[in-house]
Symmetry: C2
Subunit: 327 residues, 2 copies
């Protein structure tokens, strides 16, 4: 099956069940804040991954639906809290939760999303031992996400960040949830241990590729396509793999020029574009693209434990999509 | 057994295991922020309740230890986030987490405490079906806590709050965790359904009594004994049962005088004391004390399903302690 084209029906189903999960919330304000990002749409990559992984090991797609939706809620909860921490007022064209509802409400609704995610995961029709493993996966993922967010915050004031440190950070902050999606989906689908391990690794590798490609998109896309302001990472001085690589390779005036623009909130459009060109000319964007492609290739190789099926084909296309998408 | 006198050894054990639960956290800053409140000590009422409830139904105390510690972590996580929401800079004589570590760190460490709580709960040596119920209890409790915190926030701007609304709010914001402690402890101890239900209700009722007594202490204690500034609820205009009752009963100049001090951040010590005296003279403090006593009496009656034992005696003393404590 082709990804994501053939899954628009499933995305609708995910959206419906996701929005239904807020029905139990009594307070209108709390419910509104919790549903603010979920209602704004999204690609739903994590629930899609969980449900397709379940199918690929012989399970039904809906067996992994509650767990997938729980991951989507966790993802949204981290967005709500990250936006407060970063003091961002908009996210993909809409007000952030704290901009719309205030900081206390944003903190609280994030907490409630997180709590509700566990309840939704426990709605999975799985045997108790599998439920326990799903909840363990969820809890561990969020603990590691927090470590990743912490590393990301530490990077802001760090003098130097190495490629290894960057890879560790995106593993924790991004890849962990994709790993959880693929692994949890496998558990829900009744995977063998070998299948589960392979899918977990597939999810982790494609999550890494996803994030590196995201950093590339920030440089190469335009705001209209990307859905968020581009060249933002340069303005914010984010130490992406691209920047780390460029700073290792650059000498002389270009290095100085790049450093003067990185993290300069007042940088002009011209300066930002010039910094992007420097990153491009030194080969750092190309390097990152190759790293992302390599990770996706490795991810797909993990799928060799699976029997051929439409679902396996979809997982291959899913991995490719992570570094082909323009948004 | 006498409560809390006979449980100092267990409190030490709780503290030790609680602090050990942060060992897995890699980042020093994150770990420090997570441990900031736990390291400052506390009565550990929730883990004590869980472990004694387990014993009272024939279980071992340590069977409920992980769950009790998970509740303590959840309790601490809510304190960290509530303090950010309330912009409080101190808590019981120490800096709040955000005052010591910054707001982003406080939000993040609260999230990590919450995630870690689930992992710790899953360390319980219980059969899978019981683990599932423990996690369900934990997730549901936090979702309800968020609803309670939301109500409390809504009260700040509400023109009137009724006694019923107040009782609902403290049920969600306070009683839910005591209910979870007693019920979870019962599950860990292998309780019958009747015992589990009775203990859940016992926990809920004593949690309500605890909170109403807390409101009384704010008025009657002195800062040194109470461990936090007194008459704070009047300064903050908190709509406690005492205030609600007084505003229902008071007429004329006393009512106006009380209203002028309630929520007046610049109120002098004399004005605060005068407001306290008005609440006292109209019988509202006495009324609240009687309500709290009545709840504790009801809580103790729920214990009739338990066989007599030292542990049952301790649970009776525990309930009494909730409205006898000076701090």
């Amino acid at each position: 099956m082709a990804f994501p084209e053939d899954y628009s029906g499933r995305v609708r189903e995910i959206n419906e069940q996701l929005m239904h999960s807020f029905d139990v919330i009594q307070d209108k304000n709390l419910k509104g804040a919790m549903a603010h990002y979920p209602a704004a749409g999204g690609k739903r990559l994590r629930p899609l991954l969980a449900t397709i992984a379940s199918e690929a090991v012989g399970g039904k797609p809906n067996s992994a639906m509650p767990f997938g939706i729980a991951l989507e809620m966790v993802h949204n909860f981290t967005l709500v809290h990250d936006d407060v921490m970063d003091e961002d007022d908009t996210r993909r064209g809409i007000k952030t939760v704290h901009a719309a509802y205030g900081i206390p409400e944003a903190i609280l609704s994030g907490d409630a999303l997180f709590a509700r995610a566990f309840e939704v995961a426990l709605d999975s029709k799985a045997k108790d031992s599998d439920l326990v493993r799903l909840v363990e996966t969820l809890a561990r993922s969020v603990r590691l996400l927090a470590e990743g967010q912490q590393m990301d915050m530490d990077f802001e004031t760090a003098k130097t960040v190495t490629s290894d440190q960057y890879m560790k950070m995106i593993e924790l902050k991004t890849a962990v949830l994709y790993q959880a999606a693929a692994q949890g989906g496998a558990i829900c689908g009744g995977a063998s241990k070998a299948q589960e391990d392979a899918l977990a690794e597939y999810g982790r590798l494609m999550g890494l590729g996803f994030q590196i490609w995201d950093d590339v998109l920030d440089l190469l896309s335009d705001q209209e396509t990307f859905g968020k302001p581009v060249l933002n990472d340069i303005r914010n001085g984010k130490k992406t793999l691209i920047v780390i690589q460029a700073l290792e390779d650059l000498k002389g005036p270009e290095r100085a020029e790049l450093l003067s623009t990185l993290g300069n909130e007042k940088a002009t459009k011209e300066e930002l574009v010039r910094a992007r060109d420097i990153l491009d000319e030194v080969g750092a964007i190309d390097h990152a693209t190759k790293v992302a492609d390599g990770l996706i290739k490795q991810a797909k190789e993990k799928l060799s434990v699976l029997k051929d099926s439409n679902h396996k084909t979809a997982l291959i296309a899913f991995a490719d999509f992570m570094v082909k998408r323009k948004t």
